[in-house]
């Protein structure tokens, strides 16, 4: 698999403070790449380096195999976390201006804008000023401006903040559609459920260092704890419970179900297979619920950051 963006051992200092320490990432073409990390970890610095807003002190960044050049700005669409628009400028005028800054000819920008405005059903906003719009409405404009010039690489920093659930979904669908059309997406957020939903790959940055990266599924596999969530029913549940506790490591579990007496998280060791556990359980009671506990992105995030 080829990579659209490769950062090789990128470092950046601000005075005494080391904001990035030899961070390397590789973003596969056509993927949605989650760039994660606690506040102040260095994500924004890395994103700014990719956007050539800040120059790295050390290390190299390649876009499509070529070292980053000023012309690459038209291949990148960036939605910063600290974002805004000129408040007293008209929506259409402003969108045209920003598109032209990215090197789009005016006529093309106009027709593309028409397309997007129709798509998001905001055609009648063209002559409104930004200050007349609500925050969510302004965010829609901001999103359109980011993707308008059909960049190869899209960088979204907290794209859903300020959106209501309906519009957040709308934007999420658009991001997925853009990916289908061939765009590669770098996605930075603190909302782990959207990481879960969208990302194929993730990289975790903590205290200026990259501490984890790879395919989300691979990482999850690495972090699995061989734990199974189990729901059982039996007449003499106390007895069953103590039998299980004798053979396995058991934690209480909470999940919704119709009529379970016993809800447990059961951890098995490497020698035991899930089938062994299941046959053990069926011999003791009626099994209504049997699911492997997959670590969530949230778990992985917290676990990794805390252990470092």
């Amino acid at each position: 698999m080829s990579h659209l963006l490769v950062a090789e051992s990128v470092s950046k200092n601000f005075g005494e403070f080391r904001a990035l320490n030899k961070v390397s990432i590789a973003v596969p073409k056509g993927s949605i790449f989650g760039l994660l990390g606690p506040n102040g970890a260095g994500k924004t610095t890395l994103i700014r380096i990719i956007n050539q807003i800040t120059m790295p002190d050390d290390g190299k960044v390649f876009l499509d195999g070529q070292p980053l050049r000023p012309e690459h700005i038209k291949d990148i669409g960036y939605l910063p976390e600290e974002r805004g628009l000129y408040k007293s400028m008209k929506v259409g005028e402003q969108a045209l201006y920003l598109a032209q800054l990215k090197g789009m000819p005016k006529s093309e920008a106009k027709s593309r804008l028409k397309y997007w405005f129709d798509k998001l059903e905001i055609g009648d906003w063209w002559n409104k000023k930004i200050q007349e719009l609500s925050k969510g409405q302004a965010q829609k404009i901001q999103f359109i401006v980011t993707v308008l010039h059909r960049p190869k690489l899209l960088i979204f920093d907290e794209p859903f903040s300020g959106f209501d659930p309906i519009n957040a979904n709308l934007i999420k669908d658009e991001i997925l559609k853009l990916r289908e059309e061939g765009a590669t997406v770098i996605f930075s957020t603190h909302r782990m459920e959207s990481v879960e939903e969208l990302c194929d790959h993730i990289a975790l940055i903590h205290k200026s260092n990259k501490i984890l990266d790879g395919k989300l599924n691979d990482i999850k596999y690495k972090f699995k704890t061989n734990t199974f969530e189990v729901g059982l029913q039996s007449i003499n549940s106390q007895e069953v419970l103590s039998d299980i506790k004798k053979s396995f490591e058991v934690l209480p579990a909470t999940f919704k179900n119709l009529h379970d007496d016993i809800k447990l998280n059961i951890k098995i060791d490497d020698k035991t297979s899930p089938n062994d556990l299941l046959s053990f359980l069926t011999s003791k009671a009626e099994v209504h619920h049997f699911v492997e506990v997959i670590p969530t992105a949230n778990d992985i995030f917290i676990q990794t950051v805390q252990s470092n």
Binding site: G15, Q52, I53, Y78, P80, E82, Y86
Partner: protein, 417 residues
């Protein structure tokens, strides 16, 4: 606003002149009770002021009468034995405090008359007194035969002053505009979107150049529109702008009566010759160069300030170091250049880059050697490049800094990022 401003200015001028006209049009009656008899003949009623001579009344009755009639006031000159004592025995009674103009006018009239009386007492005839009024205007000529006069100097001062002041105003108005627009981009958080498309230095230079072009356009519109409107307004309202006199001017005019028409004619001619004597080509070229250089230097500093702060209230601590040299330049220009355009102080300040644009522009009408102008310009351009480099550094870092209170120490650190 662009089109409204000159309109408002003209409206203001019209209102002020209209008001002062109303004020002047007010008819006053001043009663005079002169018990000495010296001054009776000088109070001749004019269009606006009627002098009412109350002869033979005593002061008490006179006061009663004037009060009853609600006249403007009563001038009372008590009986004296000698002219010298009049000052101690003259009083103006009125309901409200009288206007300064009226009192000064009366004082001038009386002084003039008393001087004449005194001179006549000493045996000088009225004709002699008239004949003793001699006006002197020393004509000046350089050793090379170049003629000049006081008028020349006034014209030079006016040209230099206007040029310097224009630059000063331009820097303050449009420098602030640049600063505000940088702050606006920061507070609206659009800055990061923009600089992912253009380089910070491009944005900064674009902002400086764009704002200055907008400024020049605005100035041009003001001048043209203002001129047109002035003509229209004065035609409609029949207000002769030349006659919009302040009370002070009125007094001067009164004092100068008698030498008016011819002199005004001669003066106008002198001014025209003085203007044609100015080194116009040099003036225009130097004006453009120093104007552009000075403006760019200051505006890059303004841009840096805008980038360093989060809102306009925080700009104060950085404004002072910018405004100081600017104000100093205007002061040096106004006080020192007038006194001695080629003295040490003026010359030195016309080389120091932060003051040179204003001071040099004020000096040039008096004739400054080209090498001095060139050297000063060179220093200015050098400083400008340095300032842009410095401003660009601050700008690049500052526009992405939020919530951090910038101190000079902090700014110094940014230079190294």
């Amino acid at each position: 606003m662009t089109f409204l401003s000159p309109l408002i200015m003209i409206a203001l001028i019209a209102v002020v002149s209209y008001l002062s006209q109303i004020n002047n049009d007010k008819k006053r009656t001043i009663s005079v009770l002169d018990e000495t008899g010296y001054l009776t003949d000088i109070f001749e009623s004019t269009e606006n002021t009627t002098y009412l001579k109350l002869n033979g009344l005593n002061l008490k009755d006179a006061k009663e009468i004037v009060k009853e009639k609600e006249d403007y006031g009563l001038l009372h000159i008590a009986k004296v034995s000698a002219v010298e004592e009049i000052n101690d025995n003259i009083k103006f009674y009125s309901e409200e405090a009288p206007s300064l103009t009226v009192i000064s006018g009366l004082e001038r009239k009386i002084e003039k008359k008393l001087r004449e009386i005194k001179l006549q007492e000493d045996g000088v005839s009225l004709e002699q007194i008239e004949a003793s009024k001699i006006y002197i205007d020393i004509s000046q000529e350089s050793f090379e035969g170049e003629k000049s006069s006081k008028i020349d100097n006034v014209v030079k001062l006016a040209f230099g002053g206007i040029a310097g002041y224009l630059l000063f105003m331009f820097i303050i108005i449009y420098g602030n505009m640049i600063m505000r627009s940088v702050i606006e981009e920061k507070t609206s958080r659009i800055i990061e979107v923009i600089i992912s498309s253009v380089k910070p230095i491009q944005l900064m230079m674009g902002k400086i150049i764009g704002t200055s072009l907008a400024g020049v356009t605005q100035f041009a519109i003001w001048v043209v529109l203002g001129g047109v409107l002035l003509v229209i307004v004065s035609a409609i309202f029949g207000i002769d702008m030349a006659q919009v006199n302040t009370p002070q001017q009125e007094i001067v005019n009164q004092a100068m009566t008698g030498q008016n028409a011819d002199q005004a004619q001669a003066m106008a001619e002198n001014i025209l010759t003085a203007i044609s004597n100015l080194p116009m080509t040099n003036l225009v070229i130097a004006f453009i160069l120093f104007f552009v250089g000075g403006y760019l230097l200051y505006s890059s500093l303004y841009a840096a300030i805008g980038a360093a702060v989060d809102n306009e209230t925080d700009t104060q601590q950085f404004m002072l170091p910018i405004l100081m040299p600017l104000i100093l330049a205007v002061y040096v220009g106004v006080f020192t250049v007038i006194e001695d355009p080629h003295g040490t102080v003026s010359t030195v300040f016309s080389f120091i880059p932060l003051t040179s644009p204003v001071v040099m522009l004020m000096r040039i009408p008096f004739g400054v050697p080209l090498w001095q102008q060139g050297l000063s310009l060179l220093l200015l351009v050098g400083t400008f490049i340095l300032a842009v480099w410095f401003a660009a550094k601050i700008y690049r870092v500052g526009i992405l800094m939020y919530g951090k209170k910038a101190s000079y120490k902090e700014l110094f650190k940014w230079l190294k990022y």
